[in-house]
Structure formats: C-alpha cells, structure tokens
C-alpha cells in the first residue's frame, strides 16, 4: 500500500519531506517505473512534486539562468532564451523521444543522474540548489552533487547556470555507439584569438566523467602561441574509477575536440 502526498507549496513540500525523509519523490516520473521494478516492495510514501509552482519556470538574466527543478526537457528546448544563451544545453535536451522529453525534469536529471544532459550542465558550470526545512539553502556544482547523495530531508529546487560570457563557445555531440550512447559536451573560452580555457565532459550510460585526457590529447601539437591554456577550474572530476568511459569514448571525444580546435585556428 502506497500513500501519495501532494504538497501545494515549497513550504509544504519541505515539511512533508522533513516528516517523511524516506519517502520517494515523484518529479516528472519518466524514470520511476525502472526504479520500481528494482524494488522488492513498493514505497510506503510518495511525494508528488507536480503541483508546486515554486519549482517551475525559467528565468534568464544578467546573473545567470534559473531553471525550476520541474522544468521539462521539452520546455527547455522550446525556450528561445535558453537556446540563445545556452545552446549546448538546448541541444542536449533536444535528443530523445517526445514521450520522454515531455516528462523528464531538469531537477530529476540533476538528482537522477541521467547521462544524456548532465555533461552539458557540467561543462556549463551549473549548480544545483538544495533546500531543506532544517538545513541551509546550498548551491553545489553538479559534479560535487554526483559524488554524494542529498542530505536527508533535502530536495532539489532549481538548477543555476552562470551567465554566458563573450568568447564562450560550446559543442555538443551525442553518438549512438554499440556499447551505449556517448555524449560529448565541450566549452572553450576564446579571447584575443587564443583559447584560454577548455573543458570537455564525456558521458556514457554508466557514469558521466569529465575526461581530461581528451583535452590534453587534443591540445598536443597545437602551436605554442595557443598558450596559455588553463583548463576550466572544474574541468576534472574522477567519476570514472572503473574506466567506464570506454576507450572509444576517449578517442572519439579527443578527436572531436581536436577538430574543433583546428576549425577555430
């Protein structure tokens, strides 16, 4: 027997979450059946996030972009401003069937670790906003969130993206590989005709992993004048202890980056 809870406001949600820390959260619901199949018993409590206005909406401004946790991939690709300021994210959200994109939420992605969109969020330096009734509001980088679970009683409220800067260029590729899809998201910061920063994230179905090797390989052989290249501050996270980023993903991503750099020069 499962009990369904339907908070109508953020305040109500935080209280419910606090009272029922083991309850399952139901966001867009696109992944819930797969989770249920793995459970021995259905959950006792489910909190439906579908009716909370505080979790919806897209705001693009001078200080960056705020995406309510319940914003769907469909809404993200349809949004003109997101497309203009964060084409990489827009592109990442445009893949997949409409039946899924209409339901997957950006908050669900951030906590559910869907590999298709995470690389884009990571390469753009996104932060996830958590709220809890008894914990202070915090905004953590996506890669840090991936290493640990949210504290009990906390919920993802929004995803923040830093503002787009002049000279930022991004690339997004999704490749249907034989051993699963490979997602490549890259960002370069170019100033005075030189690449100042480069970051590349490779996502595979097992784990997204920032893949520094690809960046290094791509830069080998570039003219010295291209220095100094400082990798983006958050450019490396070791999420790939078991080598889940396949040799194919490494090779393909470094070649994509190399071609991109060649194209720029």
């Amino acid at each position: 027997m499962t009990f369904l809870h339907r908070p109508k406001s953020l305040k109500e949600l935080l209280k419910t979450r606090h009272d029922l820390p083991d309850a399952m959260l139901l966001a867009g619901g696109a992944g819930i059946m797969k989770i249920l199949h793995k459970l021995e018993e259905p959950p006792h409590d489910v909190i439906d996030l579908g009716g909370i206005p505080d979790l919806t909406g897209i705001q693009v401004g001078r200080f960056g972009t705020w995406l309510g946790a319940m914003t769907t991939l469909h809404e993200l690709t349809d949004d003109v401003l997101v497309r203009k300021h964060h084409p990489c994210l827009s592109e990442a959200c445009s893949h997949g069937p409409p039946q899924v994109r209409a339901r997957v939420s950006i908050g669900g992605i951030a906590s559910g670790r869907r590999f298709e969109v995470l690389p884009a969020l990571m390469v753009l330096g996104a932060r996830i906003e958590y709220r809890g009734q008894e914990t202070p509001q915090r905004r953590d980088r996506v890669q840090d969130c991936l290493r640990k679970d949210a504290a009990k009683g906390e919920v993802v409220v929004a995803v923040h993206l830093p503002p787009h800067q002049d000279g930022d260029q991004t690339v997004f590729r999704r490749i249907q590989g034989g051993s699963g899809d490979v997602v490549i998201a890259g960002r370069l910061r170019v100033a005075d005709g030189e690449v100042k920063e480069a970051g590349l994230v490779v996502g595979t179905p097992t784990q997204p992993g920032l893949h520094i090797a690809a960046v290094e390989e791509a830069l080998i052989g570039r003219p010295v004048s291209a220095r100094p290249i400082s990798l983006m501050e958050q450019s490396f996270v070791d999420l790939d202890p078991e080598g889940s980023v396949s040799s194919y993903a490494r090779a393909a991503s470094s070649r994509v980056l190399r071609s991109w750099l060649e194209h720029l020069s």
């Binding site: 590729r173 490749i175 249907q176 590989g177 034989g178 051993s179 699963g180 179905p205 396949s246 194919y248 090779a251 393909a252 070649r255 994509v256 190399r258 071609s259």
Partner: protein
C-alpha cells in the same frame, strides 16, 4: 541467356499520393481502430498466468528443486520435467534434442527449469522467488571455435549439429588468391510483440492453443509426443511481426502453457517479458566465414573456397536449415564453376539459435559482397565491374547444381546505377559538418526451395467467398494479397473475400510459400467458377453474373492441393547506398538507399514495396544500430531494440521493381534485399574512409577502429 527485365515503375519518395486507390490491407481497419486481437488482448474467463523459472548458469547439473514451504502455495501450480508424461522434447522437424523443461542439467543460461501458474501475473512472479533450484555449475563452452576444436565435448562425439560439403570442379592453376575472414554477429528479429500463447482445455478433453505460433504442426507434434494429447487445435492470434522467429520458441512456450492448463483444467496464458525475449530467445546463428577466391586480371572468379562456422547454441532445433540456407547462398549472386564449400554448425552453451531465412541470407551476402570488394581492391578494379563480370546469367548453374532459368543481375545493377544518379534530397540528414561522403553498391540473390504441401480451399457462402489458406501471417500482408488475387480473378469486390486466420481444426498446416499458395488459389477459383456455372446451367465464366443467376443458398467448398514449384524461386537485388562518415567519431549517417529488385509480378505492388522498405530498415538496424552482447553466462545482454532503426535514422528510399517472367519461378520482389543493403553499407564506409569493415554490426566503435 539472360532474360531482360521489365521496369514496372519508378517511384520516388513523394509519390504516395499517386498510390491512392490501391487496396488497403484487409486487416488495416481493425489495426487502426486498436481492435486487432493480439494474445494479450484476449479476455478469457478464469485465465491463469504462467511464468518460467530459468537457469542462471550456462552449464550446470541440477541437484534438486525445492519449494519454500513457509510460503503460501494456495492456488499456485508448479510443473517440472517430472510432470511430463511423454518424451521431454520439443519437436522441431526431425530434431528432438531440446527439452521442454531441463531435468538433469542445463545447457544454457535462461533454460527453462520450472513452469508455474497462478491466478495473477503478480502472484506468479512472486511465487517464482519461492522456488530454489540447486545447481552444480560446470565450465561453459561459449566460443564456437573452441567447440569446433572439440577440446570440450558438450554434444555428441564432436559438438556438431550439422555439417555439409559441396565440391564442384577441381582446383585451377591460374589466378591470384585472395583470402579474407568475415563475421556476422547474431541478429535478433526484434518483433514488437513478444511471444505469447493461451492454452485452453476443452470439455471434450482436447486442448486449444491460441497465440503467436507460426508452425502449428510442430506444436501439435510436440504435444502428441510429450503430453500424449491427440486432439490439439492451434489457432493463430493477430501476430505482432517477425514471422520467422515465431517458429521454434513458441512451440516450447505452447508446451509450457499446455502442461499447466492440463494439470489444473483451466485456461493458462504465458507471454514472455521483453527481457526474456531479448536475452533468451533464438537469434540468427552467429556466422564466421573464411573465403578464398582465385581471380584473374578482370576479377573473374576461377575458384571459390568457403568455410562457414555457425554457432548453433545449446540445442540443434533448426540449425540444419540455417546451414542449408547459408550454403545455398554461399556464392551470393555470383557464378563460379570450381567451388568448395564446407559448413558446420557447432554446439555451444548459449541459448539455441534458429533458422531465420531473411537474416541468414543477408548475413552470407555480407561476406561474399565484402570479398568482391577486396577482389576489386587487390586488382584496383571498379567494384561494380567486378560484380558485373561474375554475376549469374540465365542458364548458369549454382554451386548446388540448380540451374537458373532466368537471371537479371546486370540489368538490376545498371538500373540501380541509373537511379542513383538523381540528386540527393538535400535537406535529408545533413550529418556532422566534417563528414566524408561515400557510395557503395551491393548485390544479392534470394533462393527459396520449393515446398508445396497441404491445400487451399474456397468456400462460397451467399455472396461471401471465404479462403482457407495454410499460412500464418505476422503482418507481411499475404492474406491481403491472396484476397486481392481472388477478387481480381472473380471480379468481385475485395470486401466480399474473407481470409481466415490459421486454425488447425479447419486448415491443415503446410510449409508452402506464398507464391505456391497463390498459384493454387488461381486454380481453385477457376474450378469454383466452373462449378457455379454448372449449377446455374450457364457457360459463362463471368462469376458476378453467375452469382446473380444463382438461387441456391447451398454452401460450395472447393479444395485444391498446393504443388511445389519446379526448382528454386529466386529474386535479384541491387542496392546503392549514399552515406556520410564522421572521421572523428565513426558515426555513419545514411542519406539515400536505392534498391532495384527483380522478382515475380507483385500481386499488390504497394504492399510489396512497403515490405521491401521494412526489410531495408531491418538491414539498416542490424548493420548500424543493433546491440547484442554476450553476458558472462552466454545469454544475450541486449540494450534496447536497436535491431529496428529509429525513423530519424532512415534515409531517403528509392525502390524499383523489375519483372521476371512469371512462369519460371521467381520469388516475391522483396525477398532477400537485406544482403545487398548490408554489403553496400560496408562498401560505402570503405569508399568514404578507407576503413575495411570485416564484421556486422558496424557501430561507430568498429568504424573508428578500422580507420586506416
């Protein structure tokens, strides 16, 4: 001498509107209304649900089966091998080595050990967890090469299910030898509906089976031998695709459902989950081929030596038939007088594979087509020219000794070349910016053995004409073609022709092919016209007029045997593929596939065309997107249904049919097109990048690895 083909019609993508007025499939209305009854759509009173407990090991002894006596077993029925009254074997033709349920040991992961049924599916699944099977695992044999070596024995004396050798003409002294190895991994036909069956005990002690079974005679034979059931009626449900894969596995499934149904005296349904379907059901035999060819300076074949190794999996089932198909197509559409072909199917501890003609033919063509490309490379010849030099001509004999009475390989490829000159539809699939274009050609020949057997009947009931035809349709639309043929012959509206689905209480099953059935239908309607004319005392052959004169309401039934066609039925195909390859990632973007196909005059050209487009799609799926990996215990680890390409991955399709003289045994124009497409895709990748693709599938990983 070759017989010139007749171009039926050229058709580009955007001319579907011009196709208005063609007869829609007779079952289309039910299907668009969502009313077509697949197994899972049928409501049956008191229906019980069965599930199967499967082995987690590839090879193990079974030490015992025990139930958790703490659990509540009320309403649950458990069946093991000990409950089988007769021979514990699934009858696949002559083959009897596959047990209904494993008893002493298991030979593949996913092998059925216990069947149980319960009032709900949920209860049945929960009960599965309360059964313990104790195993003593043994070292499995998963590699067909090792099986061939016979270092570990798992079947008979030599691990061999079937072996064939053909030798014609002796070795020749002249020409250069080229030797290559080619591989085609397994392929899953990926029907959209999983296999399912309902077994229903009748009051008279007989049993009715309803479901996705395309070989009812095997079901009947199995239940006769294993369950001692003499009266079994098999009725086909509407089937969700994949006719050829509905042969072997559904027989075992039917027996499982029947075992439960007989035991409890209630109807029982057993439908595979998608996971069971993907992991454990029969695939096309993984194929390894070594081809040695001796050619002269123009690339003409002087001698061909082919060694084929097929992985049969744990049980023989229809492996011999798969080998026969591979051997028959070992030289593809090419001619050579001096041939040595040796093929062997070996046992491994993998789920049993099955004969799947469409994919078997395509797999062999990939190998021979790739060999033709390497012949061209080794002599720096034009690959199309090498094919034209060697392609079969009318009057040539195949390596099997069958003489081709017609062949239009050259015309087929030249028509494709002409069509491929049209500019590409520019907006279609631009591909990544850096991509390199490539164009490849492939040929294929489809040979079908004469079968015949059984009979067709027509029944005149008032104004309705009912056809009883021994054919199990899974969506290929042959019933529509039968109805069209009869309505045309009798000049009656198609709405007055009814085609009954397969039902063994009314129709005797047969292996006859659709063209053979069509010929028999042609004869039977002529007889019907004569009988009605006689009845109304007229000499007219105008059936509509005769019908108007007819006052009697007596039902007339006429039966006509289905005769095997003389010799092989064949169809020729050429495919020209335009694609892009991204040299950074190895991604392949298809832009256009032109196919030209020579076969019999289609009864329903539009339907043949759609069937052909479907076959091209399946070839694309197995070439580029299918993902079959072998798990640690040998069963398939399949992610998704990649054997079916997504709509967005489909290129522009241009198809053209060339008519062969109908009296000389041509096959349907869509039969066997997949081989040409597989070969053409591989050649186009090579043309674009220089990467020699040696195996199917050709995922980005393999393309990137093969880059020079």
């Amino acid at each position: 001498m070759s017989t010139a083909g007749v171009v039926l019609r050229a058709r580009k993508m955007s001319t579907v509107q011009a196709e208005r007025g063609v007869t829609p499939p007779i079952d289309a209305r039910d299907k668009v209304l969502g009313k077509a009854a697949y197994v899972d759509d049928v409501a049956v009173d008191g229906l019980q649900h069965a599930v199967v407990l499967r082995s987690p090991y590839a090879r193990a002894k079974i030490l015992g089966v025990s139930l958790d006596m703490e659990a509540d077993w009320e309403g649950i029925t458990v069946v093991t091998a000990a409950d089988i009254p007769g021979e514990n074997a699934v009858c696949i033709g002559e083959s009897r080595d596959w047990p209904l349920l494993a008893s002493k040991g298991v030979r593949h992961e996913g092998e059925a050990v216990v069947v149980l049924c319960a009032p709900t599916l949920r209860a049945a699944r929960a009960a599965l967890k309360r059964i313990e099977v104790r195993y003593e695992p043994l070292e499995p044999l998963l590699d067909p090469r090792k099986s061939e070596d016979n270092s570990v024995q798992i079947f008979g004396q030599d691990n061999v299910f079937a072996r064939t050798t053909i030798e014609r003409g002796g070795p020749r002294g002249s020409g250069r030898w080229i030797e290559c190895e080619w591989q085609v991994g397994a392929q899953d036909p990926v029907p959209l509906e999983t296999h399912g069956v309902i077994a229903k005990p009748e009051k008279d002690g007989s049993l009715t089976l309803f479901g996705t079974m395309s070989r009812p005679e095997w079901v009947q034979q199995t239940l006769r031998e294993a369950l001692k059931l003499s009266t079994v009626t098999v009725i086909q449900s509407v089937i969700g695709g994949g006719r050829s894969c509905r042969a072997e596995v559904p027989v075992q499934l039917a027996a499982h459902a029947a075992l439960c149904a007989i035991r409890i005296g209630k109807p029982v349904k057993l439908q595979l989950s998608r996971t069971e379907q993907l992991r454990y059901t029969a695939k096309r035999h993984p194929l390894q081929v070594t081809l040695r060819t001796q050619v002269d300076e123009v690339g003409r074949l002087h001698r061909v030596e082919a060694r084929l190794l097929l992985d049969g999996g744990a049980y023989a089932t229809s492996s011999a038939q798969a080998l026969e198909t591979a051997i028959l197509h070992a030289l593809g559409p090419y001619h050579c007088d001096s041939v040595y072909v040796h093929g062997v199917v070996v046992a491994t501890n993998r789920p049993p594979n099955a004969a799947l003609a469409e994919f078997d033919i395509a797999a062999m063509h990939f190998c021979i087509e790739r060999q033709m490309d390497q012949i061209a490379n080794s002599r720096t010849l034009n690959p199309v020219a090498v094919r034209k030099v060697n392609v079969l001509r009318g009057g040539d004999s195949l390596h099997t000794g069958d003489v081709l009475r017609w062949a239009v390989g050259v015309e087929v490829v030249e028509t494709a070349e002409r069509l491929a000159k049209a500019p590409l539809v520019a907006v279609r699939r631009p591909g990544p910016a850096k991509s390199l274009p490539g164009q490849g050609v492939g040929l294929s020949l489809c040979c079908l053995q004469p079968q015949g057997g059984g009979a067709v009947s027509v029944e005149l009931r008032g104004e309705k004409i009912r056809l009883l035809v021994p054919y199990v349709d899974a969506g290929e639309g042959h019933p529509t073609r039968f109805a069209v043929l009869v309505s045309r012959a009798l000049k009656v509206p198609i709405s007055s022709v009814v085609v009954r689905p397969m039902d063994t209480s009314r129709i005797q099953p047969s292996m006859a092919s659709p063209p053979e059935i069509q010929l028999a239908l042609g004869r039977v309607v002529q007889r019907l016209v004569k009988i009605v004319a006689q009845e109304v005392g007229s000499r007219s052959s105008d059936f509509a007029r005769l019908l108007k004169k007819r006052t009697s309401t007596k039902r007339i039934r006429v039966e006509e045997p289905i005769l095997p066609r003389e010799g092989l039925s064949v169809a020729f195909h050429a495919a020209i593929v335009d694609l892009l390859v991204d040299p950074d990632t190895g991604e392949v973007t298809l832009r256009r596939i032109v196919t030209t196909s020579a076969g019999r005059r289609p009864v329903h050209a539009r339907m043949s065309q759609i069937e052909l487009e479907g076959a091209v799609g399946r070839a694309i799926g197995s070439a580029l997107s299918e993902k079959l990996e072998v798990g640690p215990q040998g069963a398939w680890r399949v992610s998704g249904m990649g054997g079916i390409p997504k709509a967005g991955a489909m290129p522009e399709l241009v198809t053209e049919f060339i008519l062969a003289p109908d009296t000389l045994g041509p096959a349907e124009p869509e039969d066997g097109v997949g081989g040409a497409v597989l070969g053409a895709i591989a050649q186009a990748i090579e043309q674009a990048t220089g990467a020699v693709m040696r195996a199917v599938p050709m995922h980005p990983e393999q393309v990137l690895k093969a880059l020079p």
